[in-house]
Amino acid sequence: MITLLLFCFSLNADAAGPLPATAETVAELSSVELPEPPLEDPPDAATAASRTKQLQSDLRCPVCQGLSVGDSPSDAARAMAQRIEELVQQGYTEDQITSYFVERYGAWVELEPPSGQHQALFWAPIGAVGLGLLGIAAFGRRKKEQPSSAVAYTPDPGLEPWRARILAELDGDA
């Protein structure tokens, strides 16, 4: 089944048939409700082109392995690229457009997930290891710093004659 699905995707990626491309044609034939109106006025051509290019680089092609929308030749990516361009031209901000795609495809659609979100999963184990190592270091240091008197001296009765003799010799030397 997985092979069949991959077969589907690969066929789609290789398909060369043109999409119904122009925004005018699309508007005549279909409409899809957007969750919110654009927050800005339509930008000038240069700004729109720059924003479009940036977003197409930031968002992941849904049928590819690690390729951005802008880098993929697949029909699905081209449709997304066209949609991004339409939304930018309507005045939707980069955040609005990114949110639009994340709400539909999940955070996965961003090639670089935003910091702060989902990062805990990555940093938590590293933090746990760090804390563990710090704990071990602190434990070892405390043991090292303990005074020797803390260990009670229990003389061996068998060695007592020897000890007395050494002490006597030391006294004699003095």
Binding site: M1, L4, L5, F7, C8, F9, L11, N12, A15, G17, L19, P20, A21, T25, V26, L29, S30, S31, V32, E33, P62, V63, D75, A76, A79, M80, Q82, R83, F101, V102, E103, R104, Y105, G106, A107, W108, L121, A124, P125, I126, A128, V129, L131, G132, L133, G135, I136, F139, G140
Partner: protein, 171 residues
């Protein structure tokens, strides 16, 4: 036993094993069904016959939205399941609608003439409706309840069991 070495080993190994266990527990290619539990995006499209269709018209009824293509073999495998479900649940008030994904209308029409269809098939110029539903490949099927909420998204061909159990829950 050297407790210091053992503790250090555990401190490093336990978090790493936990992360790996969590990672092995899921398919890295599996994408989230981000729209499940959310309101189905509204759309107005034209059928292959040129008639208008709006999702809004099906308001108050359960809807099954199937994205498919003729170049997709699993879609063809799934077709009899949709046919059977539409025959059984259509009279009970469930709407079935198909959206053509990255395909040409005449190819879809030829397939449907051969294989049959109990539902409207819609053209999706520019793939805007597919994008609105987060479609990342076909077939994908969305089960929308009478309140307009997506209760389930199935990526890949829907089995008879999933189709029936989901529709029974929605009715």
């Amino acid at each position: 036993m050297n407790w210091k070495v053992l503790t250090a080993g555990l401190a490093v190994a336990v978090p790493l094993v936990a992360v790996l266990a969590a990672g092995f527990g899921r398919d890295p290619k599996l994408r989230s069904n981000a729209l499940e539990g959310k309101t189905a995006p509204q759309f107005s499209l034209k059928t292959l016959d040129g008639d208008p269709f709006s999702l809004e018209a099906a308001q108050g009824k359960p809807v099954v939205i199937n994205f498919w293509s003729t170049w997709c073999q699993p879609c063809k495998i799934e077709h009899p399941v949709l046919m059977s479900a539409a025959e059984t649940y259509g009279p009970l008030g469930v709407h079935f609608v198909a959206v053509l994904y990255q395909d040409e209308a005449h190819k879809a029409q030829a397939f449907l003439n051969r294989s049959g269809s109990h539902w409207p098939t819609l053209e999706d110029p520019g793939g805007r409706t597919a994008i609105a539903y987060g479609v990342a490949g076909v077939p994908e099927t969305f089960f929308v309840d009478a309140n307009g909420t997506i209760v389930r998204k199935v990526s890949g061909p829907v089995s008879q069991e999933i189709m029936v159990s989901t529709l029974e829950q929605m009715l």
